[in-house]
Symmetry: C2
Subunit: 225 residues, 2 copies
C-alpha cells in the first residue's frame, strides 16, 4: 500500500463524488478533487470549504490529482471510465488503490437508469482493473451510497458498502467507510462480485423511483454481529 494518506476523488465535481469529498474532509482527511477541467475541481474544493471550513481540500486536473494519493476514487459516469483510467494510468504507481464506484447503467446508451448494459470484463470494476498498471490495486465500493445522503452532513448515511477486491486493499477501503457516520464496510470478497453490487445499484434506483425517494434509499445487511 502507499504511504500517501491523501484521498483523490476524480469526478469529485459530480453529486456523489462531491458528497464523498465533503464526508472525508469532514473526517479530517486530506482530499484532492480531480476533474477533466481543473477550474471545476478548484471550484468544487471551494464548495467543500464552504460547508466544512476546516477542510484540507484542493482541486486539480485528473492527472495531477491522481499522482500520489494512496486512494484514488473514480467517481465518473460509467461511459467515461475507460477514458479516465487511460488518462491517469501513466501517473499511477504500484501500491496505490483505485476505487471503482461506477455502475454500467443503461443511461450510457440512452436507456433507463434502472437497467444495465453488459460489460465485456464482467463489471465496471473489472474493466478498471484490466486497464490499470501492475501493482495498482482495484477495489469496488461506494456504488449504492446515495449522493444526497452523503451531502447532508448533519445526517448519518445509513447504508452498508459492499467492498470487493484483494484482501489488503479491500480492508483499507473497508476502514475508509467507517470515516463516514452511518456507513459500514462489508467484506464483499473478490473483485468479480462487483458484477452483483453494481447491478444492485440499478435495482435500488428503480426502488427510489417507484417509492418516490429522490434522496435515495440505502440498505443494511441484517443478522451480522
Amino acid at each position: 500500500m502507499s504511504n500517501d494518506d491523501r484521498i483523490a476523488i476524480l469526478g469529485g465535481t459530480g453529486d456523489q463524488g462531491l458528497g464523498l469529498a465533503l464526508r472525508f474532509a469532514k473526517a479530517g482527511r486530506h482530499v484532492v478533487i480531480g476533474s477533466r477541467k481543473e477550474q471545476r475541481a478548484i471550484d468544487a474544493a471551494e464548495a467543500v470549504k464552504k460547508q466544512v471550513p476546516e477542510a484540507h481540500v484542493e482541486g486539480f486536473g485528473n492527472e495531477e490529482a491522481a499522482t500520489g494519493p494512496g486512494i484514488v476514487i473514480l467517481s465518473v459516469p460509467f461511459e467515461h471510465t475507460a477514458s479516465t483510467v487511460k488518462g491517469i494510468r501513466d501517473h499511477l504507481e504500484p501500491g496505490q488503490i483505485v476505487i471503482s464506484m461506477g455502475v454500467p447503467l443503461a443511461t450510457a446508451i440512452g436507456d433507463g437508469a434502472s437497467k444495465l448494459v453488459g460489460v465485456w470484463q464482467g463489471s465496471c470494476a473489472e474493466l478498471v482493473a484490466a486497464l490499470l498498471p501492475k501493482g495498482v490495486h482495484t477495489v469496488s465500493a461506494f456504488q449504492n451510497v446515495a449522493a444526497h445522503r452523503l451531502q447532508h452532513l448533519e445526517d448519518e448515511v445509513e447504508c452498508d458498502v459492499v467492498v470487493s477486491g484483494a484482501k489488503e486493499p479491500r480492508e483499507t477501503v473497508m476502514a475508509l467507510c467507517e470515516l463516514v457516520p452511518g456507513l459500514r464496510g462489508i467484506n464483499g470478497g473478490v473483485l468479480a462480485n462487483a458484477r452483483i453490487v453494481e447491478a444492485w445499484t440499478a435495482l435500488m434506483i428503480g426502488v427510489n423511483i417507484r417509492y418516490k425517494v429522490p434522496e435515495g434509499t440505502g440498505f443494511r445487511f441484517t443478522g451480522l454481529d
Copy 2:
C-alpha cells in the same frame, strides 16, 4: 387472479420451502406441500403439524399439489426448475400465480454457491415465465430469505423481499410477505429485475460464509418510510 386461496409449495420438503410452509401455516393459510415423491410431501406436512398443531396442511405429488391453488411456489433447486415446471404446466389454469424463488447458483454445475451461471432467458424467473402457459402469472420473490430464519418460528425473519412481476400478481405476493413477521415486500418492478435479485442472493451467500453466519443474513432497504 384465482379464488383458490391455498398456497402450494413445490419442493416444500427442502429447507427453504419447509420454512415458508411453517410460516404460512402459522399465519392460518391452507398450505399444500408438493414433492416429486408424494410420501416425502406427506411426511413434510406431518413435520409442519408437529411445530404448528393448528396447521391446515397436506402433502401431494407435485402435479396434484399444483392443481388449483391460487399461489404455487417453486422451491426446487435451480437445476430442477425447468423439469418441475414442465411436469406441472398442463395442470395450471389462467389466473394462478407461480412464484419463482430459484437462483442459478453455480452449484448447478458443481462450482460454488457464491457464484452464478448465466441463464439464457436472463434469470430463473424468466425461464419459468417462458415455460408457463398463457394467463398463468410469474412473480419473482423470496430468493434471499434464509431457510433457518424461516424455520425459527419464535423469531422475526428481519428481511426485505424484492417482488418482481406484473402489477396485480406482484401486489398479491407483496401482501403474502406481510403474513410472515419481519418480512416486508418491496416493489421490485418488472420480472426481468429478478436477474439482479437472484444474483444478490449469491452475494449474500458469500457474506454468510465470510462472516460465519450459518443461519443466514437478510437485508433491509433504509430510507423507505
